[in-house]
Symmetry: C2
Subunit: 264 residues, 2 copies
């Protein structure tokens, strides 16, 4: 069923998204001005107007920064830091004023609750902070977030090998089929036979953050060049009638409920 | 099993958290200075030093702001906006420079993928942006995030009734037993018999955002008064050996796997 449902939704996603964006665009554009607060208006203007200035970054260098930062601020903040620390040097504001370290809480699927993998949450933040929110008229940030999670779900991770790895030797790779921390790290721990507190598991998650950062910057560089093309085929609200992942049966088994649907 | 597991972990959480905080505190404090970039140093200093200045807010007023903002920026950004818009007026920086609207992507459990409910993600952001990250020596932001998600999971939502509701009449309330969008909205839709695109479902989610904002500001006010006491009893890494929720059987059925555990 998973494959069938996935194949249904190849063509339909963008029209829905564009429609939803149009509905809210008016109100958002009215309130996006930066003229209300004279004090430090420059910093505010830089942070609340989109897109944020972006210069292309080296994906491998970004991945290595994310890997190193994982050991300081963990997955979510590491992905944000890997991109923003370089843009602080190359651009300045609004990256200087962005409080990256506060996002340590993204660790472990948000304070250990195993919800969205922090690497995905951090990458989604970066994409939408730089490109801007869809209600401001840009849809690429939203589409990149879909791609972040689809790529994460479909890829045998970690793919990136850091230049200075803290753990040596071949690392087990697993495909999560989910953007959730609990599912992703659980499948890896089962395959690797390593507990959550092991140095191997920590290094795996640091390399996942590096892999996600590499993929994110590759997309942002394409976007900067005007050649970003969204790849995700997952359209849950349209295809399933509810927000969700694509692998219904992994949690529901054979009893996948049918949500209440709108009358045609 | 859920109840038994939950009861195991009442006393043990804080010692683990405090231990983890100590490990990383050294590196974080070294890098928290604001002296490296003279330009706009004031804005940067305001945003990257914790705690951010906070004045107590009216929970009901905050909830109504979140409710109204849901219809502009959806769940996650609505919760952030409800708090930060007031603190912009009462405090100024660093709230002026924070790009709230970029967080529209938190909608639908992050661009519709049904992961963490945006109201929880937004509340977690606010708590950790104001209180600060645990690696900077403060643990209350982390603890508040645990409380945000435990309260959300255990409460029949929505509890807050807006002053000017867009939908009138009694609203169905459901207890999600999960911080995830998919689980939360799915249980509500089943109980209410309303589809995802219905005005009733939208108003339910706007009221959930309002309810979460009310609870969040109640905690922040207590913290400001020096009387915040963490309530969450969920300690997944210690109790289960993996990041996760507390209701293992809801997804796993009777075949709850045992993760690889550290040798004692």
């Amino acid at each position: 069923m998973t494959e069938r449902k996935k194949s249904q939704c190849n063509q339909e996603r963008r029209s829905l998204l564009i429609g939803a964006g149009k509905i809210a665009a008016g109100a958002a554009l009215v309130s996006a001005g930066s003229f209300t607060l004279p004090k430090l208006a420059k910093a505010k203007a830089a942070a609340t107007q989109w897109p944020w200035p972006y210069v292309k970054l080296d994906p491998a260098k970004t991945a290595d920064l994310a890997y190193e930062e994982w050991y300081r601020v963990f997955c979510g903040a590491a992905v944000v830091s890997s991109v923003f620390s370089q843009l602080r040097e190359k651009v300045g504001e609004p990256y200087n004023s962005f409080p990256v370290d506060a996002f340590v809480f993204l660790e472990g699927g948000q304070v250990g609750w195993g919800t969205i993998c922090g690497s995905n949450a951090g990458a989604n933040m970066v994409a939408n902070l730089i490109v801007g929110p869809r209600i401001a008229g840009a849809t690429e940030g939203h589409l990149m977030s879909e791609d972040v999670m689809q790529w994460y779900s479909d890829t045998a991770l970690p793919v990136y090998v850091p230049k200075k790895p803290k753990q040596t030797g071949e690392i087990v790779k697993t495909t999560s089929e989910s953007p959730l921390c609990h599912v992703s790290v659980g499948k890896w721990m089962k395959a690797a036979g390593k507990p959550i507190g092991s140095p191997e598991r920590k290094d795996r998650c640091a390399r996942v953050a590096a892999s996600v950062a590499f993929n994110l910057v590759t997309m942002l560089n394409d976007w900067k060049d005007g050649k970003y093309a969204a790849k995700s085929t997952h359209s849950p609200v349209k295809d399933f009638g509810i927000t969700g992942q694509f692998n219904c049966m992994e949690c529901h088994g054979n009893n996948v409920p049918t949500p209440p649907m709108a009358k045609k």
